[in-house]
């Protein structure tokens, strides 16, 4: 142990030319789904993104000995919370990254606050993380369901899609997604002509799609997620709904889902994202590096992991500690900017505020390659995309 430490210090001193040798050990734990429905969206890709951040930050030169470990929470809160506790108590992990599936994320957020560590949430979508169940050391980085619903709801209504019909997954998540979006639609002068609750999970959407088709709506809002969304889009394509002029709006859908569906099936679908690989040269370069290791383009969750880890490492370097409260306070005080997420400001409640973008899925004629899937329709400024902060969740004021 002593020898390792001495060696590490010697190496650090060599690298830094003896100028400064802070020598802080930082252990990053990437906890996500590596075998189930979110494995594509987060999974190993998030580990790769975290490693890329450590590399690009030049952590070793700055005296930070960063180690990245990972585990599969199997989308089970008890498995996830067991790993999180073990990581903090025994393995000396300083920060947990990613954690899709809101039930696991909420459990991890609570444990992280108890142990005064940092939780960089990129994978989960639940707004509860920064609202009803907010915690001082949770940084909710990439997106949340309200931002996606807000973004799509507002942008689509503004673009002329005024009459909405909702297909809602019949459970708490689906209803809150519908409620959020319907509110935005009405605020922007649109109207909701109807909605139908679809049992969850569903494979047959035909009768619901027929209702939507005959409702005379311009837009069919899909207030569901994962397999339900994919099934609904597939069947809508079979019914020729988009070809007949009605638009589909995905309220929680990711690039991986679009890739799986293909441009032929998903064409014309509108969706909100925090990141798309083909936005500019910097995102293309970064995504190419990612693709070398993963054989696929990154999702916004991967990009979010990268940015969040960069900001976290900057905070550790600046404060010289991995103490949860101090690092969180620094991250909330100092804005962050990079090519992937643009300007990012972390609010007092831990919500990272940045611009979101509305995309439309290209038609097969427009698409020039397997991953050439989206075209940008508009930008949604950060202050409009996310829900306002709750006063009791502002941890920066004492």
């Amino acid at each position: 142990m002593l020898r390792k430490l001495a060696l590490g210090t010697a190496l650090g001193a060599l690298a830094a030319g003896g100028a400064l040798a802070q020598d802080i050990d930082v252990k990053l734990g990437v906890l996500n789904d590596r075998s189930g429905v979110y494995a594509d969206l987060s999974g190993e890709g998030s580990v790769v993104a975290a490693r890329m951040a450590v590399e690009d930050f030049k952590a070793a030169e700055k005296g930070l000995n960063v180690e990245v470990i990972s585990a599969d929470h199997q989308n089970k809160p008890d498995v996830g919370s067991n790993i999180a506790r073990q990581w903090y108590d025994q393995d000396g992990v300083d920060v947990i990254v990613d954690v899709p599936t809101s039930s696991v994320a909420l459990a991890v957020a609570q444990i992280t606050a108890d142990k005064n560590k940092i939780f960089l949430a990129s994978g989960p979508g639940s707004t509860e993380l920064t609202r009803e169940q907010c915690q001082p050391t949770t940084i909710h980085w990439t997106y949340d369901t309200a931002a996606l619903a807000n973004g799509t709801g507002k942008a689509v209504t503004d673009a002329g899609g005024e009459k909405w019909f909702f297909l809602t997954a019949d459970y708490a998540f689906g209803h809150s997604l519908e409620e959020n979006t319907a509110r935005v639609v009405k605020e922007n002068g649109g109207e909701v002509v109807g909605s139908v609750d679809v049992p969850f999970p569903a494979t047959d959407f035909s009768s619901f799609l027929l209702q939507a088709q005959s409702s005379g709506a311009d837009v069919i809002g899909l207030a569901n997620a994962g397999g339900d969304t994919i099934n609904a889009i597939k069947q809508a394509s079979e019914f020729g709904i988009t070809q007949a002029g009605q638009k589909l709006a995905g309220l929680l859908i990711f690039i991986n889902d679009i890739h799986a569906l293909g441009a032929q099936t998903a064409q014309g679908l509108q969706m909100t994202s925090a990141f798309y690989w083909d936005t500019n040269d910097a995102t293309r370069d970064w995504s190419a590096r990612f693709e070398e290791q993963m054989d696929k383009k990154p999702s916004m969750v991967h990009a979010g992991v990268y940015s969040a880890v960069m900001d976290f490492l900057a905070a550790v370097e600046a404060t010289g500690t991995t103490d949860g409260d101090q690092v969180a306070a620094w991250m909330k005080q100092n804005p962050y900017e990079d090519a992937l997420m643009g300007k990012v400001q972390v609010r007092g409640d831990g919500r990272a505020v940045h611009d979101m973008y509305l995309f439309e899925v290209k038609t097969p004629e427009e698409s020039e390659g397997e991953w050439d899937l989206l075209k940008q329709v508009s930008t949604i400024p950060g202050d409009q995309a996310f829900l306002p902060m709750l006063d009791e969740c502002d941890f920066t004021k004492e």
């Binding site: 590596r34 075998s35 494995a39 999974g43 190993e44 470990i69 990972s70 585990a71 599969d72 929470h73 199997q74 989308n75 089970k76 809160p77 008890d78 498995v79 919370s81 067991n82 790993i83 506790r85 073990q86 108590d89 025994q90 809101s102 039930s103 909420l106 459990a107 609570q110 639940s126 509860e128 169940q133 019949d170 459970y171 708490a172 998540f173 969850f200």
Partner: protein, 324 residues
């Protein structure tokens, strides 16, 4: 005829109380469990014990009652929801929260059992699965369960309002007392006259009826008891992880407990404990392998079915020619 004999004490051993071998194993197990939290991570050890109790409760129904339920997650999960709600919203102390969860599971077991035992074999399994899916639906839709987020941040509280359980080690000994006590009670039930009647019903139901036993009443009792102890395990788990979630009521949980029981040895006293230990340890220590966990779990199950159908403990019991 070792198989039909395994797991049930011979009448002579019955009269003398617990056979010496079982006494020794229980004592060694207890000694091992006392030092376990100092060897491995306590939360992991607690999870292991909760699942051991769950599998043992399930084994009471499958191994000793001969009834394959495919809906035991309903009792495990509903108890964990009720216990979590009791501790968080009603502010009950841990022992009362666990008790209320257990009572809820017992009641649910009585209702579901009364309807399910009218059918046998695959129909029985399907009826229990159907009820479990209904419970899952309620957990997904009801207000107090928090939908897919579950009930989070359940306080661990203080035992009897006096001893704080925030510390992992003190909670561990609370969980040890509950689960070990539960397993001993299950052992007592199996080796009581009631257990003997169950054995008779499992082996030859028409003969048990002809002997004048009210078979359905026995079946309902064993179903309710199994549900109660499953509930005890689920309620305790909610305290350990400070959460109750859909995982606990999902049908995969019902499948997992079947897997644990079969792998360890159905109809043996110690089999379910071993099976639970194998599965939980795998899930925990193989978590870093990601997708491979489920693959490895599947391979082990296939090996188990091909090579030792009586389960790990069943095979050992056959070797040493003693019921375990």
């Amino acid at each position: 005829m070792t198989i039909s004999n395994s797991g049930i004490a011979t009448p002579s051993a019955q009269r003398a109380g617990m056979p010496l071998l079982h006494k020794v194993i229980f004592l060694v197990l207890l000694a091992f469990l006392v030092v376990l939290p100092f060897l491995v991570y306590p939360v992991f050890a607690m999870k292991l014990m909760c699942f051991a109790l769950f599998a043992a409760a399930f084994n009471l129904l499958l191994g000793f009652g001969g009834l394959l339920s495919f809906g035991h997650a309903a009792f495990f999960g509903s108890a964990s929801y009720v216990a979590a709600h009791a501790a968080k919203v009603w502010g009950l102390t841990p022992e009362l929260a666990v008790l209320s969860g257990t009572v809820a599971a017992a009641f649910l077991g009585l209702v579901i059992g009364a309807l399910a035992i009218r059918r046998q074999g695959i129909y029985f399994a399907m009826v229990t699965l159907a009820f479990a899916q209904m419970v899952y639906f309620v957990a997904l839709q009801a207000q107090f369960t928090g939908g897919e987020d579950g009930i989070q941040s359940v306080p661990r509280g203080a035992l009897f309002g006096l001893i704080s359980l925030r510390d992992n080690i003190s909670l561990y000994f609370f969980v040890l007392a509950v689960t070990f006590g539960g397993i001993l009670m299950l052992y007592r039930i199996v080796h009581s006259p009631f257990g003997q009647v169950l054995h008779a019903i499992r082996e030859n139901e028409p003969r048990a009826i002809s002997l004048g036993y009210n078979v359905n009443r026995y079946k309902l009792m064993v179903f309710t008891l199994s549900a109660t102890f499953s509930g005890l395990a689920g309620a305790t788990k909610a305290q350990v992880f400070q959460l109750a979630s859909l995982t606990d009521v999902h049908w995969t949980m019902s499948g997992e407990v079947v897997l644990m029981t079969l792998l360890g040895g159905m109809g043996t006293v110690f089999g379910p404990l071993v099976g639970a230990a194998i599965i939980v340890t795998m899930q925990n220590y193989l978590a870093t392998f990601g997708a491979w966990v489920t693959v490895i779990q599947g391979v082990i199950f296939v090996i188990g079915v091909m090579l030792f159908r009586e389960g790990v403990v069943g095979v050992i019991a056959r070797w040493i020619k003693r019921p375990l």
